[in-house]
Amino acid sequence: MAFKFPSDEWIKELANQLNANQAYERAAKDWEGDFIFVVEPDEAYDKTAYLFLGLYHGKCTGAAMLSGEGEREAEFILRAPYTSWRNVIEGKLDPIQGMMTRKLQVKGNMMKIMRYPKAAKEIVACCALVPTEFVA
C-alpha cells in the first residue's frame, strides 16, 4: 500500500519508520526539536502542505498534516517546492546539500542541525522506506 505525498497518512508512516529505526534512535538520542515541513507549490503541485514531525531523544512523538503553519509550534521549519521534497525523498537531493544551496529553506538554529548530520541522513533513509505515491 502506497501513501500519498504529501498527506497525513504519509507523515504518520514516516513516524512509524523512524520509531522502528535503531540507527536513527542512536544518532538522535540527544535531539530535541520538532519540525514543520512546508511543501510549497510549483509546476507539479498547486497547493501548500504543512507536515508536522515531533522529535525527541531518538523517537518521533507525533506526526500530522496541519491546516496551516501556525497550527503547531516547531523549533524548525523547512520549506521547499514540492519537486525539491520529491527529490529528497527519492534520494536525488541530499538534504544537507539542499540546505547549503538554498533548495531547502531552513528557519531555526543551524548550529543544532549541523551537530546531527547522521540523524538527518537517517530521517531521509526512513523517507525512502515509506511506500510513496507522489500526487504529481
Binding site: A27, T101, M110, M111, M114, P117, K118, A120, K121
Partner: protein
C-alpha cells in the same frame, strides 16, 4: 548545482613577496608562539611593515584551537581593527584565524554557529591572507574551521564558503622547517583529504582532478620530504599538493576517516594527520565491500591496481598502509602507544562523536552504530576490515 570556491593562490619559491603588494593599513597576524620563536612570523611581519602596515600579533593559538581562544582573538581584533587578518601556521592557526575573522565581523555569533548555510556577510571590515607552514591541512584554501569544544572533548567541523581566505601564499620555504614527524603527519592529512575528496558521495568534476593529482604527488614526494627536510623539490611538491588537496576536499567533502580522526584527536590528542592516516585504510576497506568504484578508479589512476571493484579499492588501502610504514607512521592505534584499556573506556564516546561528525554526511557506505564500533576496534588492532 554546487559551488567551487578558491582563494587567489600565489605559489612557489618566493611566493612570500606577494605580501609586498598587499594594500591596506592594519594587519592582525594570527599564529602560535612556536612559529614566532622559529622566526617565521617575523618574515611575514617584516614584509607587511615594509608594505606600510601597522602590525599586531596574536600568538596564543594552541594545537586543536578552542572556542575560548578564538573569542579572545576576536576581542583583540575588535580593539586593533585590522583590515587584513593574516593567518600564519598549520591548520590550528589558520582555522583560528578564520574563526577570529568571522567573529570580528560578526560579534553576534557564537563560534559554533558558523555553518555553511547561513550567510555571514564577511569582508565589510577585513579580508584574509593565509600563509601555511605545514603541508598540510590545506586550510589556506578551504572553507573549513575545526574548533575543539573542550568541555565536551569534541571537535566541531564548522565552516562557510565566505571564510575561504582571499589569498593563499603557498611558499615551500615556509614549510621547510618542519621536522620529519610533523612532515609525515601533515602529509598524511593531505593524503586523506585527497582520497576522501575524490571518493566521497559529494565528489565533483571540479574537485576530482585536484584530488587525484594531490594524491599522486603525495605518494611520490612524501617519503623524500620526510627523509630530507632540505629536499626543496619534495617540499615544494608536497606544499602544492596539500593546497590542491584542501581545495579539492573543500569543494567536495571529507568522509569517515576524518570523522574517526576528529574523534580520536579530541579524546586522546593524537595528531590529526596521524589519526586520519591510521583510519583511512580501514574506512577504504569498509567502503570497498559495498561501494568500491571510486576507490578502485583512484587505485588504477595511481598505478596501484587495474583490477577494479573491491580488489582495486583494497589495493588503495594497502598503498596507504605501505606509505605509512615507509615514513615511520603507525598503521593502527595500538602502535601509537595508547593502551587498550584506555581506548575502550572512550569507545562509546568515539563512536558517538564520529557518528555525528559533519564528515559523515558524504560517506558512500554509512556505518551503523555497531559497525562503527567495529571499525574503531579494527583500527586499534590493525585488522583489515572484513565486514
Amino acid at each position: 548545482m554546487w559551488y567551487f570556491v578558491s582563494p587567489q593562490i600565489v605559489f612557489g619559491d618566493g611566493a612570500m613577496t606577494a605580501l609586498d603588494d598587499l594594500k591596506g593599513s592594519r594587519a592582525l597576524i594570527v599564529t602560535d608562539s612556536t612559529l614566532v620563536r622559529l622566526g617565521l612570523v617575523e618574515q611575514v611581519k617584516a614584509r607587511l611593515e615594509r608594505a606600510g602596515f601597522q602590525v599586531h600579533i596574536f600568538d596564543r593559538v594552541r594545537p586543536d584551537p578552542d572556542v575560548e581562544t578564538v573569542l579572545e582573538g576576536a576581542e583583540v581584533a575588535r580593539t586593533f581593527e585590522p583590515d587584513w587578518i593574516v593567518g600564519v601556521g598549520g591548520g590550528s592557526p589558520l582555522d583560528a584565524a578564520k574563526a577570529i575573522w568571522v567573529l570580528y565581523e560578526r560579534p553576534d555569533l557564537h563560534p559554533a554557529e558558523i555553518n555553511p548555510i547561513t550567510p555571514l556577510g564577511l569582508r565589510r571590515k577585513a579580508r584574509m591572507v593565509a600563509v601555511p607552514t605545514t603541508s598540510g591541512t590545506g586550510s589556506e584554501a578551504t572553507m573549513g574551521i575545526v574548533l575543539t569544544d573542550r568541555e565536551e572533548r569534541r571537535k566541531m567541523g564548522l565552516g562557510n564558503r565566505e571564510a575561504v581566505p582571499d589569498i593563499a601564499i603557498v611558499d615551500p620555504r615556509m614549510a621547510a622547517a618542519m621536522p620529519p614527524q610533523l612532515t609525515a603527519d601533515t602529509g598524511l592529512d593531505a593524503l586523506a583529504h585527497a582520497i576522501e575528496g575524490y571518493t566521497c558521495a559529494w565528489h565533483t568534476d571540479f574537485a576530482d582532478g585536484l584530488c587525484f593529482n594531490a594524491a599522486r604527488l603525495i605518494f611520490r614526494y612524501l617519503p623524500a620530504a620526510v627523509a630530507d627536510s632540505a629536499d626543496l623539490e619534495a617540499r615544494e611538491h608536497m606544499h602544492n599538493a596539500a593546497t590542491c588537496a584542501g581545495l579539492g576536499f573543500s569543494n567536495s567533502l571529507t568522509s569517515i576517516a576524518h570523522s574517526m580522526g576528529h574523534a580520536l584527536g579530541a579524546a586522546f590528542h593524537i595528531h590529526h594527520g596521524r589519526a586520519v592516516g591510521i583510519c583511512l585504510p580501514y574506512t577504504i576497506e569498509f567502503a570497498a565491500g559495498q561501494a568500491p568504484e571510486r576507490y578502485a578508479d583512484l587505485a588504477a589512476l595511481l598505478g596501484f591496481s587495474q583490477a577494479g571493484g573491491e580488489e582495486g579499492a583494497r589495493a588503495l588501502a594497502g598503498a596507504v598502509r605501505d606509505l605509512c610504514r615507509r615514513i615511520g607512521n603507525p598503521t593502527c592505534v595500538a602502535e601509537t602507544g595508547l593502551s587498550r584499556a584506555d581506548y575502550e573506556t572512550q569507545l562509546d564516546k568515539l563512536v558517538d562523536d564520529a557518528f555525528n561528525d559533519t564528515s559523515m554526511m558524504s560517506a558512500v557506505r554509512s556505518p551503523s552504530y555497531d559497525e562503527f564500533r567495529q571499525l574503531f576496534i579494527y583500527a586499534y588492532e590493525g585488522k583489515p576490515v572484513d565486514f
